[in-house]
Symmetry: C2
Subunit: 191 residues, 2 copies
């Protein structure tokens, strides 16, 4: 961190992200990334051996950043409904801005690799939500739901909307339907 | 129906479906479809002007077939929980067999057309489920849910699973989580 090599690496990842989000994985070449970063071919290749390595580095970074978020909030004993509220606000923002989504790129990338990169990515998402829901149940702030069931609904309804909203125009009411549904499953009504 | 032209058309659609399901829309050429059908180039072009027209014909056919299903069952006054049970069984089967899914092809195709074919497709799915849920509520067999909310969850959780299961290996428990969740939302418990 802080050293030049690390900074250039970061810069490459940041410049590549919007390319993958816009055009998916397959269309993007190392040449495109040279242009976006202003690096020479040699310069770029001294950091990454190809677009696959860059894409995986972006995914790991997203994964780390993402996971830390809930964990930090739980360590600080933030009430579960508050963590959920923040997460759903972010989720709604992301659903609305599907042009920033890496879903298409992930989808294409998964077709090009034999390894289980995507499996790891999915597991991280599952773990993060499972931990949050269990935390809320332990604190008696969430209903005693079937955790695996609700986590599946959260992850896949979100993915479904993100993918689909790139192809059909969706109104705010659909994004809200998903987030409201999740809240209803988890939050204990003040009755 | 029954005439030769119509039969050849049907045969072309049936032979093309698995090609689009396997490789998506972009990779498939009219030449591939000639090979799959055994038709000459001229023969194929006398029916369809291109892969886009073939793909749209497949989608409309799926749409028609699909819509009729619930409608017929409702016309026959079949109990809503039974219609739901059948629909979810089919849904689970489809989620398990994502290799037969046109999701990837639809996704790619949507990127190539300016029209709103996908919007129509989505609307048909929304209408079908909205009608079924309202039917169940009217017959007092389903809970008085927020229909738009539940329809969104059904459609997008299903799409999310179908897309995602092409990239990560999913277990039966995830497919079951989605169908069980839908049932819990709609069915009135025998209490």
């Amino acid at each position: 961190m802080g050293n030049k090599k690390e900074q250039t690496r970061e810069m490459i990842l940041e410049a590549s992200y919007p390319l993958f989000a816009k055009d998916g994985f397959n269309k993007i070449t190392m040449k495109d990334i040279c242009e976006a970063t202003g690096l020479s071919r040699g310069g770029l290749y001294s950091h990454f051996s190809g677009t696959g390595e860059i894409f995986e580095a972006i995914l790991s970074k997203l994964n780390e950043k993402d996971e830390m978020d809930f964990q930090k909030e739980m360590d600080e004993k933030m009430p579960a409904p508050e963590i959920l509220e923040r997460a759903l606000r972010l989720m709604k923002y992301e659903m609305k801005h599907s042009e920033d989504s890496l879903s298409l790129a992930m989808y294409e990338y998964a077709g090009t690799v034999s390894g289980d990169v995507m499996g790891q990515f999915t597991e991280a998402g599952e773990k993060k939500w499972t931990d949050l829901i269990n935390y809320g149940i332990r604190r008696k702030e969430f209903k005693r739901v079937d955790v695996h069931e609700i986590v599946s609904i959260i992850l896949y309804a979100y993915q479904g909307v993100r993918m689909w909203s790139r192809i059909v125009s969706m109104t705010d009411s659909t994004f809200r339907a998903v987030t409201e549904h999740i809240k209803k499953q988890l939050l204990i009504e003040n009755s």
